[in-house]
């Protein structure tokens, strides 16, 4: 019974939880229910992944309406992997949230915070699950609107500007997307992705299709913060409450990358893309993004902003895989999607733990905390090494496949860019580590943070456990890639069918 409705339950559970959570008095109960829901969703997502891991596809007809008329949830390895990432990160972020939220968000807003969180989860999971592009738009709006609300809850007043900026950019993106969807519908009369992919090839030369494609690409490039459309992201990540940053950094851009994959490979087909300048344009933007954003990251003084710029650079790596358009490169994209969620999740959680103790995210205020908070420090080191791509960590596996994909096509310039990007990552990661490790607790002035790092204690267990779960995952998936690479290869086979 549950198994046949699995795909729907994953989306509906958090959706139902949202209004319930919103009306609950006090934060703790709301937190407990949200945590319970996100854990069960994670369980369901894992179940779903096992069901499609053999390479088969689940087709779920919403309300019993047969596709292409009704809405169809079409789950293959790619969706299942993304759903697993989103729900997994949610299931780890929520336990972490309890203490962090109490510290950063006023008591009266707690219930609303969890409700918005649940809605955001619904939206992201919905995008991952659905096989209908209009339905995708609806979920996109659900996730976007709730993230604007979540970001605006940040302690500083800049959070409001950041949220507003994101609102404007996000709305433009969504509008572009829906214009594209409208044009596609006008030309083909269908909204079902599988159906679209059947009907589009005969219309490839039609100018409207090209226009629709352009709108959709730009719309989602905005959502996933592809350089140079990334301007909303650093502010949003910096000023949002820590928990929100953790969750969004690890999931929301990943989901957007997944939609890109779906649009490029399933809906339009790579043979269509190859006849447009899109793939070259992607490569160019990715290269520029990786290099420039890594340099930007080096010069940041705020740790959250540093990681935010690093995220924009990392999105470049993921999009490289789409631009290269081979089976190996799509595998690399999906693997990096997964691994980067682990990396950035762990890093933002660790930075969040520092913020929890000292109330500031500026790197100069971190002096000497390495000794005071050894576990948090170790987490930053390991996750940082994973971000750099040192062997033995998940990040290495991503780099491995990415570079192999570039070598396969003899794209030596891209190979160089990926490796240089890793070296730049060494610089910005070490910038944080050096301050934590070397400086004495009282070396820098503590006037702005208003406290002395000498008396700082290790972060509470409620923050450490989820953080270390991700850190351990970073190491585990650096050695055992059955889940990540295995699933990604399955997905790549379905997405890029022509090649082998």
């Amino acid at each position: 019974m549950i198994e046949s409705h699995l795909s729907l339950l994953i989306v509906v559970l958090p959706l139902l939880a949202a209004p319930v959570v919103a009306v609950l008095p006090g934060g703790r109960l709301a937190w407990a229910i949200s945590t319970l829901v996100s854990c069960s969703v994670f369980y369901l997502a894992a179940w779903q992944l096992i069901n499609v891991s053999a390479g088969n596809v689940i087709s779920y007809e919403l309300g019993g309406w047969a596709p292409p008329w009704g809405i169809e949830y079409r789950i293959d390895a790619a969706n299942a992997l993304v759903a697993l990432i989103v729900s997994g990160i949610a299931a780890l972020t929520l336990p972490y949230a309890l203490k962090s939220v109490i510290k950063e968000i006023p008591q009266r807003q707690h219930a609303l915070f969890y409700a918005a969180f649940m809605l955001c989860l619904t939206g992201l999971l919905g995008i991952a699950q659905t096989g209908d592009i209009f339905n995708l738009f609806v979920f996109l709006e659900i996730s976007s609107l709730s993230s604007y609300a979540l970001i605006s809850l940040g302690k500083n007043r800049q959070a409001l500007t950041a949220a507003y900026q994101y609102l404007i950019m996000g709305t433009i993106g969504a509008t572009f997307f829906i214009i594209g969807v409208g044009l596609l519908y006008a030309m083909t009369g269908t909204l079902n992705m599988a159906d679209l992919s059947q009907r589009l090839p005969e219309l490839y030369d039609h100018r409207t299709i090209h226009t629709a494609f352009a709108f959709i690409m730009v719309g989602f490039a905005l959502k996933l913060a592809l350089f140079p459309l990334h301007l909303w992201l650093p502010n949003a990540y910096t000023y949002a409450p820590t928990v929100v940053t953790v969750f969004l950094a690890a999931t929301s851009t990943k989901v957007a990358v997944y939609v890109m994959l779906r649009m490029v490979f399933t809906v339009f087909g790579f043979s269509f893309i190859e006849n447009t300048p899109t793939d070259e344009l992607f490569l160019l933007l990715c290269i520029m993004g990786i290099l420039m954003m890594s340099f930007y990251a080096i010069y940041q003084k705020d740790s959250k902003r540093l990681l935010a710029y690093s995220s924009v650079a990392q999105i470049g790596y993921m999009m490289l895989g789409i631009g290269l358009g081979s089976m190996l490169s799509v595998t690399a994209t999906l693997v990096h999607l997964f691994n980067h969620a682990l990396i950035k999740g762990a890093l933002f959680m660790a930075i969040g733990a520092l913020i929890y103790r000292i109330g500031s995210s500026r790197i100069e205020h971190f002096s000497g905390l390495g000794k005071k908070m050894p576990w948090t420090f170790a987490a930053i080191v390991i996750a940082g090494l994973s971000l750099i791509g040192v062997p033995g960590t998940a990040g290495f596996i991503s780099k491995w496949y990415l570079v192999l994909a570039a070598i396969e096509q003899q794209q030596w310039f891209i190979v160089a860019v990926i490796l240089i990007g890793s070296l730049l990552a060494v610089v910005y990661v070490w910038k944080i580590i050096e301050v934590l490790y070397f400086k004495a607790p009282n070396e820098t002035s503590q006037i702005t943070s208003g406290q002395n790092n000498i008396y700082v204690k290790e972060a509470p267990l409620m923050l450490l456990i989820p953080m270390w779960a991700l850190v351990v995952a970073n190491v585990y998936f650096g050695f055992n890639t059955e889940l990540t690479v295995g699933t990604a290869e399955q997905a790549a086979k379905l997405l890029v069918p022509d090649e082998y």
């Binding site: 090494l385 033995g392 070296l423 060494v426 050096e434 050695f479």
Partner: protein
């Protein structure tokens, strides 16, 4: 000696130091217990590795894979003679250095000693794991762990100078390994479809010989630990570390892991025949040759003793690299033996440098006039180490230089032979004056040193052992020679 299977011994040799690191941290507040743990572990590891050596000499070649990381690439270990030779050197000298370190760290009142010993064990574990690596991926993994685990040792002092040196250290080692070595490994993988070490190489017949030179260069420069110019700056920078670190890691474990990797790549990835037939190393030999020469020349200008020894190490490492690049049997034997001979000689020199620092608080050579009469044991050991580096009989260093020179003769590379010989002269010029000054020159302040005594006993024992080993290796180099011969012949 031990009845366990060789596979279990390999695991034991790698895991024991890791376990010790954990125990050392637990024994934080009890220094004596902490040092006992280090010594016991180092002794057991030395016994384990010696047992393995005897089995390898008897012809056993244990190999196993632990698990698969991505399809076709495993974390796996195997022992061949070259790795055994490196492991034997590292394990033996770890024990000696542990004895030495106790005297040094206490005599010098170093802070954070627990961290020091713990991280040291981790570094040794990764060096041993590198020695036993069964494929290039595992070797690369251990190589990087070794880089990162030695970072806290290099920056041990925590001063701004240490921090700056740490940046150079990490920047060059990580930079070259990610920028070049990883790329070279990935190209190898996409060309050959495997990364397993195989005698005779895995690239021959699969890689266009025209590109062999480029790939080989990526490997040579990608192994920053071998300190081939222009990627040598990290080694002098690392001298800011406490002396036992400079002694064991930056004269033995870390740098030898570098040249070991190059030898491995030469013999087991390319295969020496492929290198000579494709001419992959024709222009690379000049980098090694010039490094030998320039580093010796720079060493002469250094007044700081450790800095001089560091440049001497850079020069000597390129002997090994050169041996690998020439890639004929004699030069490979010479290169492998030089790993051993240079290790014992250079560690003696560093031990002496540390003893001088602890006992007399002198860092600069110009301040050491007349010090030999106050610290005779230290300076006799120093002299023995110097003579072995120079390559005179009756010291072990003669053998490796002998075979390296034979290698150049065999390939009729007369210019290289001349460079090797002139470098030996330069060795005399920058090493012997130190001993001469210490024994025969007059001290700056006052006629003789009255307050300076010899360093603590544990340091003298360690130093004496390695100095005697330099002599013993001249008369009895057989185990190392046999390992080197087996490696070169691919047995």
């Amino acid at each position: 000696m031990i009845s366990l299977a060789s596979e279990q011994l390999i695991i034991l040799a790698i895991l024991l130091p890791l376990l010790a690191a954990g125990l050392i941290i637990l024994a934080d507040k009890r220094p004596n217990l902490r040092e006992t743990i280090t010594l016991i572990t180092a002794s057991i590891v030395a016994i384990v590795v010696t047992t393995l050596t005897m089995r390898v000499l008897a012809g056993e070649r244990p190999a196993f894979d632990l698990f698969e990381v991505v399809p076709g690439i495993n974390v796996g270990f195997s022992i061949e003679p070259l790795g055994m030779l490196f492991a034997l050197v590292a394990a033996t000298l770890w024990l000696v250095t542990s004895v030495y370190a106790i005297g040094y760290m206490r005599g010098h009142n170093e802070k954070n000693q627990t961290r020091f010993y713990a991280v040291f064990s981790i570094a040794i574990s990764s060096a041993l794991a590198a020695a036993f690596s069964g494929n290039m991926f595992t070797l690369f993994l251990c190589y990087e762990i070794l880089t990162i685990s030695t970072y806290p040792l290099v920056t041990h002092a925590g001063t701004s100078e240490a921090r700056r040196s740490g940046r150079i250290y990490l920047g060059i080692l990580l930079g070259t390994s990610i920028g070049f070595q990883l790329l070279a490994i990935l190209i190898t993988w996409s060309v050959a479809g495997t990364l397993d070490f195989k005698h005779g190489g895995i690239l021959s017949g699969k890689l266009d010989p025209a590109y062999a030179g480029i790939l080989y260069a990526l490997f040579i420069f990608g192994v920053g630990k071998a300190a081939v110019m222009p990627f040598h700056k990290w080694l002098p920078a690392a001298m800011v570390a406490p002396t036992p670190v400079s002694a064991l890691l930056h004269a033995v474990a870390v740098v030898k892991a570098g040249v070991f990797t190059i030898l491995k790549v030469t013999i087991y990835i390319f295969g020496s025949d492929f290198i000579t037939s494709s001419g992959a190393s024709d222009w690379l030999v000049w980098f090694a040759a010039l490094t030998i020469l320039f580093a010796s020349l720079i060493a002469m200008t250094k007044d700081n003793l450790k800095a001089r020894l560091a440049y001497s190490t850079i020069s000597q490492l390129s002997y090994i690299v050169l041996g690998a690049l020439i890639a004929v049997e004699m030069s490979l034997i010479g290169a492998s033996m030089h790993i051993v001979m240079h290790a014992f000689a250079k560690i003696t020199l560093f031990f002496a440098a540390g003893a001088i620092l602890v006992a007399a608080h002198k860092k600069n050579i110009s301040d050491m006039s007349g010090l030999g009469r106050a610290m005779p044991v230290t300076f006799i050991a120093f002299t023995i180490g110097s003579l072995s580096i120079i390559g005179l009989p009756p010291f072990g260093g003669m053998w490796s230089k002998w075979y390296l020179a034979l290698g150049t003769v065999q390939t009729e590379q007369w210019i290289l032979l001349a460079i090797l010989m002139s470098s030996s002269l330069l060795n005399i010029a920058y090493l012997l004056p130190i001993s001469i000054r210490a024994f025969f020159a007059k001290p700056k302040e006052g006629p003789v040193y009255t307050e300076v005594k010899e360093a603590p006993l544990s340091m003298l024992i360690a130093m004496g052992f390695t100095a005697l080993a330099c002599i013993a290796l001249f008369f009895y180099p057989d185990p190392f020679y046999n390992l080197a011969l087996d490696a070169a012949k691919g047995r």
